[in-house]
């Protein structure tokens, strides 16, 4: 009896806890706070000081950006090794560390002048020598995409301390906007003695407005301001005394930390649910929004015999319900992408060359006409080969689960079986990037920049990022030619040709452009951002942030 009553009280306790949960939830109401408290008397304007805590989801692979290929590594590197070129509000490249540059009419010679007075954090002057060295070293040691970007360099000539001249093998109109935007310059005085950069323990010596103070991999990275850094705030340097990056396992953990005041700004773009949370307290938090330079897409592997059939790709393209993906799965945190090139770049999508629209009946007809007949399981097949594909995607892509389920539901309505294959990042890289062992992939490109001249990097038949194994001579030719056409208008026309061919061929189906949102605490002011890689954490923007 004693035992029984004990157990009974246990059950009652559980029921009470559950009841508490129910009432707590039932009574929750949104409270809109009155905004606009007048505290003008307290505003003091920018001053030096303060520790800004940046929350990021996922740990940077390495602090040496030349050996890593992830956004978090690049974000950290951007503070210590800021790029030569940055984006303006329209996503166009403008000089940053560069003071001036000149491209010859044949697009084969670039003369670059950098700002004077920048030093490496160990005191050694930052000069044109470092830039020339980086070009040579990345190619020699095949360091990531840097090797590809500098591959076209025939000769570099250091003219004086601040001037360097590049002679290219082939004309390339976007040489500087690519190299300048993507490559972090290497310290010559450190790396000239390094034979094995992949295993070299780089200590973070840079030339940026912040220098690395200490870090613990997987946990935090602390940076401190470089006094009187010449390109920030008229030679004063950044306002923030220190910037601390904290690594979080996921967006919810990051959001909670922000709401608790442990984190002041999100370095990783936030999901819509998190944005709404912060927007609910406008007195404490703000959200900066900007259209992404990348996009989400489904890609087809041409190794798969069935996917090599243009009709199958076309039918799949017609099953993609962009409205549902943008409004339901992404909760309105994106815009539809109906053209091969992102609508961010307005000149390039004026031609309005669109992917086949969402049309399930049309998709059925395409498959029927091509000889794919429904079998007893409701899957179409031809010559005994079933239209059954594995769709591989990364579980870490926000809302990927919802997106692929919408895709699957519609594909199966027309008789194409889709088996979902959610994997972690390492497995994805191995299967898709290295082995190219997949049927259909879904992923988001972080950034596709200079699309008037750079799409060769993903669609040309011999490029590393062409995971599809897509090969089309006409497209190869256009993408090759466009790189040496100095006239912008002519490039736009050539890219229209490309888009016409693209929507016939459909090596990928591009679906949406994310709206990147970054929450910030109103304890800090001076925020700004442009379409780019790092939101408000880009060095050029972060130097303007100050504590209220």
């Amino acid at each position: 009896m004693k035992l029984k009553s004990k157990r009974l009280s246990f059950v009652i306790t559980i029921l009470m806890i559950l009841a508490l949960l129910v009432t707590a939830c039932g009574s929750q109401q949104t409270q809109t706070t009155d905004e606009g408290e007048n505290n003008q008397g307290q505003t003091t304007g920018p001053k030096i000081g303060g520790n800004l805590v940046v929350g990021i989801t996922g740990d940077p692979y390495s602090i040496a950006p030349w050996v890593s290929n992830d956004l978090n590594s690049a974000m950290i590197a951007n503070l210590i090794l800021p790029p030569l070129m940055v984006t303006d509000e329209n996503g166009k490249k403008i000089p940053y560390i560069i003071k001036d540059y000149k491209m010859s009419d044949d697009a084969k010679e670039y003369t670059i002048v950098i700002h004077d007075g920048i030093n490496w954090h160990d005191g050694v002057p930052f000069t044109a020598e470092d830039i020339a060295f980086t070009a040579e070293y990345t190619v020699k040691h095949k360091l990531g995409f840097g090797a590809d970007m500098f591959a076209n360099v025939e000769k570099t000539e250091v003219i004086d301390k601040t001037t360097v001249k590049f002679y290219l093998k082939k004309p390339q109109v976007n040489f500087l906007s690519q190299v300048g935007f993507w490559i972090n310059i290497m310290p010559k005085h450190i790396f000239e003695k390094v034979e094995d950069p992949m295993n070299f323990n780089y200590d973070g010596t840079g030339y940026g407005p912040f220098k690395l103070k200490e870090y613990k991999k997987g946990e935090y990275y602390i940076f401190e301001r470089v006094p009187n850094w010449p390109l920030a705030n008229n030679g004063l340097g950044a306002y923030l005394e220190t910037v601390t990056f904290r690594v979080f396992p996921d967006h919810n953990a990051l959001l909670l930390a922000m709401k608790n005041g442990e984190v002041h700004v999100s370095g990783s773009a936030m999901p819509v649910a998190s944005q709404k949370q912060l927007e609910a307290s406008p007195d404490k938090f703000g959200v900066l929004k900007v259209m992404s330079l990348g996009y989400g897409y489904f890609g087809f592997n041409y190794k798969n015999e069935l996917l090599r059939d243009k009709n199958v790709r076309k039918a799949i393209a017609m099953t993609i319900d962009r409205d549902a993906i943008v409004n339901t799965a992404l909760q309105g945190g994106a815009v539809k992408m109906e053209t091969p090139i992102s609508p961010v770049y307005k000149d390039l999508v004026k031609s309005n060359i669109k992917f086949p629209p969402f049309d399930l009946e049309g998709a059925k007809k395409v498959l029927e006409d091509a000889g794919y007949k429904l079998n007893s399981e409701g899957i179409r097949e031809k010559n005994g080969k079933k239209l059954e594909f594995e769709l591989i995607y990364r579980t870490t892509t926000i809302n990927a689960d919802s997106i692929v389920n919408i895709f699957k539901a519609n594909a199966e309505k027309v008789g194409i079986k889709i088996n979902l294959k959610p994997v972690d990042n390492a497995t994805y890289t191995d299967r898709v990037v290295k082995q190219r062992n997949f049927d259909i992939n879904f992923i988001e490109w972080g950034v596709i920049d200079d699309p008037d001249s750079s799409l060769a990097t993903i669609y040309k038949s011999d490029t590393a990022l062409n995971f599809m194994g897509y090969k089309n001579e006409k497209i190869d030719e256009i993408l090759e030619k466009v790189q040496s056409e100095p006239d912008y208008q002519k490039r736009v026309e050539m890219m229209n040709e490309f888009q016409k061919e693209f929507i016939e061929e459909l090596p990928t189906v591009n679906v949406y452009v994310k709206i990147n949102a970054y929450g910030y605490s109103k304890e800090f002011e001076g925020w700004s951002l442009t379409p780019g890689l790092f939101g408000p954490i880009a060095a050029k923007d972060l130097v303007k942030v100050y504590k209220k």
Partner: protein, 281 residues
């Protein structure tokens, strides 16, 4: 015949055991008849994040799918995982326990120390590592959970076997020259079914907790509906901390995990009380 009947009568005498039994029955029926209760949730709809109503008893999720249907199909997954885990645990644990209890000697002590080693292993981290390595399918998850559940079953089996094998009728059977296999299966196994049964109900309960945990950590199978998967989706989409809160999204799967675990625990404790009618405190 008389004995069996009284066992059931004893079982029905404890009200909490009856509650547990009914709970188990409800979940089993839900799992078996899932296709008749609710259509398998898939695809997407337009009624996003609706609170519970007569149309959607448990509300809808971010894709407009019915959460009641997800929970019902989740019961099926939970049962599947538990049963596979129990099966794996029985296949490894019962023979291991019986051999170690009956044979004693070197083989017995080797198995015995193996059980001890397995019992001290940090189970959850190991499960996470293995699940991450071999990949997330629901069968993999179930087998992993089973592999880590056998030691407790083996320990219980061993102790019971030890007790039985010292009794005189086993000695007699040995003297009569009855083959060892016959002794083990006919005479010992039948007599130790009770403790094994109790342990199985406990494994059923913990298996569901483990599955929910693994799924929540993203190591389950996101293409199958399970209570852990529903919770993970709710968490991923910010439903747990959102204001206003779509509480129905995370609340119902949590309730059912709790309900499942309590039901099996009550049933297990009830059976145990009948088999060991000593007061525990």
């Amino acid at each position: 015949m008389h004995e069996k009947k009284s066992f059931f009568q004893l079982l029905m005498r404890s009200r909490l055991t009856v509650v547990g039994l009914i709970g188990v029955l409800i979940i089993v029926l839900m799992g078996i008849f899932a296709p008749f209760i609710a259509e398998k949730p898939k695809g997407y709809g337009s009624e996003i994040l609706l609170p519970p109503s007569t149309n959607h008893w448990f509300g809808t999720d971010n894709l407009g799918l019915d959460i009641f249907a997800e929970v019902v199909w989740g019961a099926r997954t939970s049962l599947f995982v538990s049963l596979v885990a129990v099966l794996v645990a029985i296949v490894i644990g019962v023979p291991a326990g019986m051999i170690s209890g009956y044979k004693k000697g070197v083989i017995g002590s080797i198995i015995d120390s193996l059980i001890d080693i397995f019992l001290t292993l940090p189970i959850l981290p190991l499960m996470i590592v293995i699940a991450a390595v071999i990949g997330s399918s629901i069968l993999n998850v179930a087998v992993i959970i089973g592999i880590f559940s056998w030691p407790s079953l083996a320990r219980v089996t061993r102790n019971a076997t030890l007790k039985i094998s010292e009794l005189q009728f086993i000695e007699a059977a040995k003297c009569l020259g009855i083959p060892t296999g016959n002794i083990i299966f006919k005479h010992i196994l039948l007599n130790i079914m009770g403790p094994i049964l109790v342990n199985i109900t406990l494994i059923m309960a913990t298996a569901v907790l483990s599955e929910a945990g693994l799924s929540f950590l993203g190591l389950g199978d996101p293409t199958t509906w399970s209570w852990g998967v529903i919770l993970k989706k709710a968490w991923e989409n910010g439903a747990v901390i959102d204001t206003p809160n779509p509480w129905w999204w995370w609340f119902w799967p949590s309730v059912f995990v709790t309900f499942y675990v309590i039901s099996f625990n009550l049933l297990g404790t009830g059976i145990n009380d009948i088999l060991n009618p000593k007061p525990n405190d």
